[in-house]
C-alpha cells in the first residue's frame, strides 16, 4: 500500500465495507444466476471493488455518477439500496426502475446514481451535463463518469474531455482500465501508453493509479473531487485493475494471456485490504467478520425481496414513455 493521503480509520473501514458489499453481492449474484433463479446477462465487477469504494467515500448523495453496464460496483459503492438493486435485476415491479431498466440501466437519483448506460463511452457526455448544471447554479456538486479502457477510444471520450476542460466543469472522469475491451487486449486497440496521457491533450490533470490499492485510489479521488468542488475543473483518473469474471459472466476467458488471471486472483484486492486493515490495527477480525455477516444478512433479505416481489404490470408498456401517456 502506498503512503499518500492517509484517510481516517473510519474512512478506511468504510472503504472496506463497500468493497466487501460489492464482492459478497457479486458472489451471491453469480450463485443465484447459476441456480436459475434469476435470468440476466451479467457483467461482473469482481476484482474492481476498490475503485468506486475509494471514490465514493469522497462523494455525497447530491453528487452525481453516470456509470456503465459493468457498474453494479459503482452503484453499490454510491449507496443504491441493495434490495431495490436486486429487485431491478430480477425484473420486478419493486426494483429501482420498476423492472423496466434492468442491470444495465439502474437509476437511483436519491443516491445520485443518475444514468447507467449500456453504450460504451456514453457516460461521459452526460456527466458533463450534471456538472454544467451544478456550475451554472453555483452548487458545490461534482459529477463522476465511470467508464472502461475501451471507451477511451470512442469519439465521445474526446469530445467530453475537451468540453469539460474548456468549461472547467466539476467532473471527474474515472477510467477503470481492466486491460481488456470486450475480448481484446489494451495494447492492440489503444495507441496511448497510458490512458491518463490523453489528459494532456485537453490541458487537464491526468493520473494513473493502482486501482486495486485503496490508499492510492482514495488519494487520487480525494484530490480530483477537491479540485472539481473548488472550481478547479476536471480530472482524468486511470485506475489500473483486472476483471475476474471476464467480459460477461460465463466467458471462457480463452483470449486472456496465460497465467494472467491466476496472477490477478492471487492479488485479490478485497482479502488483501482486509488483511492490511487488521495488520495495521485499523480494524479487528471480529469487527470485520461482524460487518461481513451484516452484509450477508442484507443480501439475504434483498434476494428474498427480489424473488418474492411481483412482476411489473403490463400497463407499464404504455407508461413512462412521455410525462403523460399518449396513444401511439
Amino acid at each position: 500500500m502506498t503512503d499518500t493521503t492517509i484517510p481516517s480509520c473510519a474512512t478506511l473501514v468504510e472503504i472496506y465495507r463497500r468493497m466487501a458489499l460489492i464482492k459478497l453481492n457479486d458472489e451471491r449474484f453469480r450463485a443465484v444466476i447459476k441456480a436459475g433463479k434469476i435470468v440476466a446477462v451479467y457483467y461482473s465487477p469482481r476484482g474492481q471493488e476498490v475503485i468506486p469504494s475509494a471514490v465514493s467515500v469522497n462523494l455525497n448523495d447530491e453528487d452525481s455518477i453516470c456509470t456503465i453496464y459493468r457498474g453494479i460496483h459503482d452503484m453499490l459503492a454510491k449507496g443504491v439500496p441493495v434490495k431495490l438493486l436486486w429487485a431491478e435485476i430480477a425484473g420486478k415491479a419493486t426494483g429501482t426502475c420498476k423492472g423496466k431498466g434492468g442491470p444495465m440501466h439502474i437509476t437511483h437519483p436519491a443516491t445520485g446514481v443518475m444514468v447507467t448506460t449500456g453504450i460504451v463511452g456514453s457516460s461521459m457526455p452526460i456527466a458533463n451535463g450534471f456538472a454544467l448544471a451544478a456550475q451554472l447554479r453555483g452548487q458545490k456538486r461534482v459529477a463522476v463518469a465511470y467508464f472502461g479502457d475501451g471507451a477511451s477510444n470512442i469519439g465521445a471520450f474526446h469530445e467530453s474531455l475537451n468540453m469539460a476542460a474548456i468549461w472547467k466543469l466539476p467532473v471527474i472522469f474515472v477510467c477503470q482500465n481492466n486491460l481488456y475491451g470486450e475480448h481484446t487486449r489494451y495494447e492492440l486497440t489503444t495507441s496511448a501508453r497510458r490512458i491518463s496521457d490523453r489528459a494532456a491533450s485537453y490541458q487537464m490533470p491526468g493520473v494513473t493509479v493502482d486501482g486495486n490499492d485503496p490508499l492510492a485510489m482514495y488519494s487520487a479521488a480525494n484530490e480530483a473531487v477537491a479540485r472539481a468542488r473548488s472550481g478547479g475543473g476536471p480530472t482524468l483518473i486511470e485506475a489500473l485493475t483486472f476483471r475476474f469474471q471476464g467480459h460477461v459472466f460465463g466467458d471462457m476467458d480463452a483470449y486472456m494471456m496465460e497465467g494472467e488471471k491466476e496472477a490477478a486472483l492471487s492479488r485479490d484486492p478485497v482479502p488483501t485490504f482486509r488483511a492490511w486493515l487488521i495488520q495495521n490495527e485499523q480494524a479487528s477480525e471480529i469487527q470485520l467478520a461482524a460487518m461481513e455477516s451484516e452484509i450477508e444478512r442484507e443480501i439475504d433479505a434483498a434476494v428474498d425481496f427480489a424473488l418474492s416481489s411481483p412482476e411489473p404490470d403490463l400497463a407499464e408498456l404504455r407508461q413512462d414513455i412521455f410525462a403523460t401517456e399518449v396513444r401511439a
Partner: protein, 333 residues
C-alpha cells in the same frame, strides 16, 4: 422582446424563433442554449437565429460549443435531468446522425428505462431542407428516424408564427423534443406570432377546410399543399389541408375525422417516400377507414436518393406541385 412593443405586420421564421428563445429565457433562468456559433461573438448562429441572446442573457446561458455534437447533446441531457431546460442546437439535421446515440439511446429512453425517475426536458433545434444547393449531407429530412423512436417528440413548424408557438411549448415540455426548422424559408415573412402564445404539442391544425380530399403535411410542404388546394378550388375540387405540426406523437384523431368526411387522402412530405411518415399515416388510414375510403391513400415524397446538387435535379427531388396534383387526381378517380 417586451409585450409593450407593437406587433409588426410580418415576421420571419428566424425572428420568430429568436423571439421564442428570448421569451423562454426571460421567463425561466433554467433555460440555456448550447450550440455551435450561438453566441454574439460568433454572429449568433450561422443564420443569426440566436442573435442578441448572449448579449442579453450572458455567455454562461448562451454557450458557444465546440463542434462536438455528442458532447453538446450529452451535456444538454445531463443538465435536463438535473432540472434545467436546455435548448441544444444541432446546426443541420444531417449532423444529428453524429449525435444519434445521445438522442436515441439516451434522451428518448431515460424516462422509460429509469421507470419514470429521470426525465429529459430537452429541446434540440435543427435546420434542414432542399433548395439551397447544399447537396446530400446538408439538407435531408430525417424525421422518420426519430418518430420511429419511442420517447422523443418530433415537431416541424410550417410558418413563423407556428415556429414561435411550438418552440415555446417544446422548451417548457417535460420530454425531449426535436424541433425541425426549414432553412430555405427562414427569411420568408409570415403573420406575426402573438407574444407568449404557445401552440400545444400533439395537436394538428386544419389550415384550410375542404370536403373532397384531405392533404396531410408538415413543415414547408404545408405551403405547397395550400397552393395545390387553391389550384383545385378553381377546378371545383374542395381540398382540406392539415398541418400535423407535431409528427410524434401523431394526432390521428384530426386526420381520421377529416378523411372520414372527405374519403380521400394524400400525404405530402419532403423526406424520401419509402418508409417515411406518409407510410405510417397511410397505414393507419387504411386500418381505420378501409371500407370508407373512395380511393387508396396517396403519398408524395422525395425521390429515393441523396439530395442532389444540380438545381434541375434538386427542384424535382422535392415534392413538386405537379406531383402533388397528380396524387390528388389519383384519389379523385
Amino acid at each position: 422582446m417586451s409585450s409593450a412593443q407593437h406587433k409588426p405586420a410580418t415576421t420571419t421564421t428566424i425572428q420568430a424563433i429568436n423571439m421564442a428563445l428570448d421569451e423562454a429565457m426571460r421567463l425561466d433562468p433554467e433555460v440555456i442554449l448550447l450550440g455551435e456559433d450561438v453566441g454574439d461573438e460568433q454572429e449568433g448562429g450561422v443564420c443569426g437565429v440566436t442573435k442578441g441572446l448572449s448579449t442579453k442573457y450572458g455567455k454562461s446561458r448562451v454557450r458557444t460549443t465546440p463542434i462536438s455534437e455528442q458532447a453538446i447533446v450529452g451535456a444538454a441531457i445531463g443538465a435536463a435531468i438535473a432540472g434545467m431546460r436546455p435548448v441544444a442546437e444541432i446546426m443541420l439535421m444531417n449532423f444529428t446522425a453524429v449525435a444519434m446515440d445521445m438522442i436515441v439511446n439516451h434522451a428518448a429512453k431515460l424516462r422509460f428505462m429509469s421507470g419514470g425517475q429521470t426525465h429529459v426536458p430537452l429541446t434540440i433545434r435543427t435546420m434542414t431542407g432542399a433548395g439551397f444547393g447544399t447537396g446530400g449531407q446538408h439538407s435531408d429530412y430525417l424525421e422518420a428516424w426519430f418518430a420511429h423512436t419511442a420517447g422523443i417528440k418530433v415537431v416541424a413548424p410550417s410558418s413563423p408564427a407556428e415556429s414561435y408557438g411550438l418552440m415555446l411549448s417544446c422548451i417548457f415540455d417535460d420530454d425531449p423534443c426535436l424541433f425541425i426548422e426549414n432553412m430555405p424559408t427562414y427569411w420568408t415573412p409570415g403573420a406575426s406570432p402573438d407574444l407568449g402564445k404557445r401552440i400545444p404539442l400533439g395537436k394538428a391544425n386544419v389550415v384550410l377546410p375542404g370536403s373532397d380530399v384531405t392533404l396531410i403535411s408538415y413543415s414547408r410542404a404545408v405551403s405547397d399543399c395550400i397552393a395545390v388546394a387553391k389550384t383545385f378550388a378553381n377546378q371545383g375540387v374542395s381540398a382540406e389541408v392539415i398541418d400535423l405540426r407535431t409528427i410524434s406523437p401523431l394526432d390521428m384523431d384530426t386526420v381520421l375525422t377529416s378523411v372520414m368526411r372527405t374519403r380521400r387522402a394524400v400525404v405530402v412530405h419532403e423526406a424520401v417516400k419509402p418508409f417515411g411518415v406518409g407510410a405510417e399515416i397511410a397505414a393507419r388510414l387504411h386500418e381505420g377507414l378501409f371500407g370508407d375510403l373512395a380511393a387508396p391513400v396517396q403519398r408524395v415524397g422525395a425521390y429515393y436518393c441523396a439530395v442532389p446538387f444540380s438545381k434541375k435535379l434538386e427542384m424535382e427531388f422535392i415534392p413538386t406541385h405537379a406531383r402533388i396534383e397528380a396524387a390528388v387526381r389519383a384519389t379523385l378517380g
